[in-house]
Point group: C2
């Protein structure tokens, strides 16, 4: 009989896609799974990225036995530079994942004493009372794993991010046998990826993309330019395979694509016959129908190789020519839709034929759809179920799926980040909540999100700022000169002049109005703000941020000058 309950504490990754981090705790042992970052939504003005709040771990740092990483996407490893600069537990990751973590740490300039340990599918590690086995899962990045975690309370299965693909591009099929055996033995808890719990049916195989690419390349009379996620090595492999088949050579453009291709070739995750990759000087001598270009820019990132082609950026090494076929082998990540559409439009405008997800199946995603999620549930047959990796609607729908395959509703927990779930062998309960603020990173500032600062940025973004300088005569407490106004981001200069002049009169009138001495700063401040705010709203229905600057000058000085 276990002496403790098993605690599951999601620190990220629930109800906020892409900031995945979870603590598993038994007695004095804590294991953390993943440490991801999240990119801010539009209203988080000036925020670069978001990371999980690790207060829970900091308060229990002596119990922390290690951080186990399921795969190398940013939403699973991106917070490591921040976490490892504060605590340094050992980290466990597969080879490809570990390479990406090292790049990440280097890019952020983080030096850590934490050891980055190598694990592989089938290997097993012991961290305190936890013994963890790794199993292969198929996902959109090589070397992805799920976890079988043996705990004193029972076995926990963590799916990682996964899909089921019987004909994947790389040898990365999800390992079912082990899961089926575990299911027969008895699993306490399944934690499973909910990202695509909305989608009925099965996620198509990578084979489908291979067929589409093959058809496109065989029909293309000119160059074919393919863009995809740099970490989607299996897609890169497909492009190489198709190139070989059709006697084309591959030119790679874009920093991240080149780096990952090179790393993947070196480590054997990507295989390409010698001479298939061509250099720029070779590219220039090849006939158009002997070329495939593999490019970054699938999300319409403004400085990416594809966007520079789309914009006819003169510094781009490749310029679009009519007859080019551009394949966008990706879907826009939520928030990037407009950028991708704009890029597509520009490519068409230059005479390229653009083939993208809406017009042909040039992409399949890396997460299981409803039938796959049910299959995992049915194989593992867990007593308890916690949907992870998704926004609230995905978790809710995944919970319904679990219920539909026979898991009692009382044994399904749709958690919020920070909920502390305690599981015994027969029952589970949310026993409390830990602090989980949103930790934002802006430049070199890391901290909580200040609502006032964000509100001010929002106001500034709409109508700009108006700085009003009021010089008060120290002697008689009256205005020493006409108020001055400077604006930024307000309105067009042409129209602005007249309005500004009138605004100065308005401030003048407001301050001279009741012949009161202007020695009370708060009075002057409020008067300036109120009068000008009202004036601008009446005149043009806009509300800029108004900043009064009040200066006292000597009465003797007749030459006050304010700009």
């Amino acid at each position: 009989m276990p002496t403790h309950k098993l605690r599951i504490v999601p620190l990220g990754g629930l109800a906020e896609i892409g900031k995945n981090m979870m603590a598993l705790e038994y007695g004095n042992d804590i294991v953390v799974i993943d440490a991801g970052l999240m990119f801010p939504s539009e209203e988080m003005l000036g925020v670069d990225l978001l990371i999980p709040d690790i207060s829970y771990l900091l308060a229990r740092r002596k119990n922390l036995r290690g951080i186990v990483i399921t795969h190398g996407h940013e939403d699973h490893i991106g917070a490591l530079p921040y976490v490892l600069s504060r605590i340094a537990p050992p980290v466990y990751a597969t080879r490809f994942t570990r390479e990406l973590i090292m790049v990440e740490l280097k890019q952020r300039g983080v030096k850590t004493s934490a050891k980055l340990n190598l694990v592989s599918p089938g290997s097993r590690i012991t961290l305190g009372k936890f013994t963890i086995e790794f199993f292969s899962v198929c996902h959109s990045i090589p070397d992805s794993v799920g976890l079988v975690i043996h705990t004193p309370v029972g076995i926990v299965v963590h799916s990682g991010d996964f899909k089921i693909d019987h004909t994947p591009a790389l040898s990365e099929a999800t390992n079912f046998n082990q899961l089926a055996l575990l299911g027969a033995k008895g699993v306490l808890l399944l934690l499973s990826d909910s990202t695509y719990a909305e989608l009925p049916g099965y996620t198509p195989s990578e084979q489908v993309v291979r067929d589409t690419l093959d058809r496109i390349v065989s029909e293309a009379k000119g160059r074919v330019i393919v863009t995809t996620f740099a970490s989607l090595v299996s897609r890169m492999q497909q492009v190489f395979d198709v190139a070989v088949k059709h006697g084309r050579r591959v030119f790679i453009v874009g920093r991240s694509m080149k780096e990952i291709a090179s790393m993947a070739l070196k480590t054997g995750y990507l295989t390409a016959p010698p001479g298939i990759i061509c250099r720029l000087d070779e590219l220039k001598t090849l006939p158009h129908n002997r070329v495939i270009v593999l490019s970054t820019g699938s999300q319409g990132e403004p400085t990416s190789a594809l966007v520079r082609m789309a914009n006819r950026d003169p510094s781009s090494r490749i310029q679009i020519i009519p007859g080019d076929t551009v394949v966008i082998s990706a879907t826009p990540i939520p928030g990037n839709e407009a950028l991708v559409s704009k890029t597509t439009d520009s490519l068409f405008h230059q005479g390229a034929n653009v083939i993208y997800d809406k017009v042909a199946q040039v992409h399949v995603h890396g997460h299981g759809s409803q039938e796959e999620l049910k299959l995992l549930l049915s194989l593992v047959k867990p007593k308890f179920f916690v949907p992870i990796h998704g926004e609230y609607r995905h978790l809710s729908l995944h919970a319904s799926l679990a219920s539909s395959v026979g898991i009692p509703e009382d044994n399904i927990f749709v958690l919020d980040n920070g909920d502390i779930l305690e599981l015994g062998q027969d029952s589970g309960k949310v026993v409390g909540r830990t602090r989980v603020g949103v930790i934002y990173v802006s430049g070199m500032i890391t901290g909580e999100l200040n609502a006032g600062v964000l509100r001010d940025r929002k106001l500034l973004s709409r109508d700009g700022v108006v700085v009003v300088t009021v010089a008060v005569d120290a002697g008689n407490g009256r205005l020493a000169e006409r108020p001055r106004i400077v604006t930024r981001g307000f309105i067009d200069t042409g129209e602005e002049q007249k309005l500004i002049e009138k605004g100065r009169d308005v401030v003048l009138a407001a301050l001279d109005h009741d012949k009161r001495r202007l020695s009370e700063p708060s009075f002057v401040d409020a008067r300036v703000k109120d009068s000008l705010s009202k004036f601008f709203y009446e005149q043009i229905h806009r509300r800029p941020v108004i900043i009064p600057v009040v200066v006292e000058v000597s009465a003797k000085n007749s030459e006050v000058s304010t700009r």
Copy 2:
């Protein structure tokens, strides 16, 4: 033989969805089709909406014979208040459309001498050398029409926004017979809706939604809350029909939904048996399974009825209770995805079962897919083809469809806004371009987009503003006091204090450095900006907008005080 060529001048609606406006010109006669607005993309900070530039029309106002409107969506009528406040040609619209135009003019407080003339499918008007016949098309708003325009050069067919639905909810099937007859007779030019040219196959019938709604309502044990576009009267009709069938009563919530329902009932576009609509006091006495709520909020609009329910706004007349089924019978308009997702998550979080486009077919859109577009092309058999209503990729794909049904590529014109296409009976050519700026409306300001203002707003939105007040002693040209700093939207107050203090030292050092007199404003200005900008970037990697305010004060005044 015609003495002139026919001119087609798109002023909006190409390469920018939803700002539809086009001029047709023959000799001294101009007819305009539609006058729509467009909502700004995210980077257009502080812009409320965009309207077409009508310089082309203003320069030819004496030739303008009328504005013909195809249907009542904002992207086809929304610019009328602005256009009609500058020019007042007669406007022609069907009844439902005319009602909406009147609402629009009233809301914007526009009084115009322009006459709003009523037309109906089958009717015919003559405007100068143009004779225009209206034909019914099926679209997502009642009373939509396409146009057959007889010109001296030949017949022009304008599709309006359309889909083909053989089993629509209202009697609004697209009228093919007339088009087929025209096709046999010979059509010079087809202008056709490209909005869904990306989608293969056919757009499903409204019948599909009826079946889904019927199933959802019959299975729901509690209340059913349906949200859709207020102008989608056919969907409203379906909700009423399903309510009647299942013995439920309908409660309508949300201003625009109530207004349009009331108008549609009055004008006969919506039919409901007496007593089906219930009042709030009745709603409270009805069992949950006898209720359907019809609500605004399908786009996650922050102040809409559904969003107020989702947020448990205490002023909301309806609060979500577990067991509620919420049907989002719409798809997010590009740009609204995040708002809709957030609303869905909040509704799930409160225990509602939310059914939306990804999980069930609760919406079909109002535009034809590829096979419908081909059908129209095949029926009309135009000599020339111009795809309209869409972004560049939609126009390009629609051009490919036209080519695939046999229209010669030389006779297909993918235009940009402002292109002037001239058509003779046998050939066409883009002969020039007219001015088409982006006209933006912000509050009561209407004008061109100033790139500098937008750039400043962008900068302000990221890192806020820092106002630095420097008081210079008029006597000796030296600093009269330590520089003062005020910020808005910069960083968190806690961390800010130390940084601001250091920043004041930095400015002090920069200005005192070379013992130069501080009487040159541009010198002081540049010094403050450069030193502080560099300092903040080094310290925290942020670049706020820095506004220096330089004031000269008298040397005799020892009590300078700046806030």
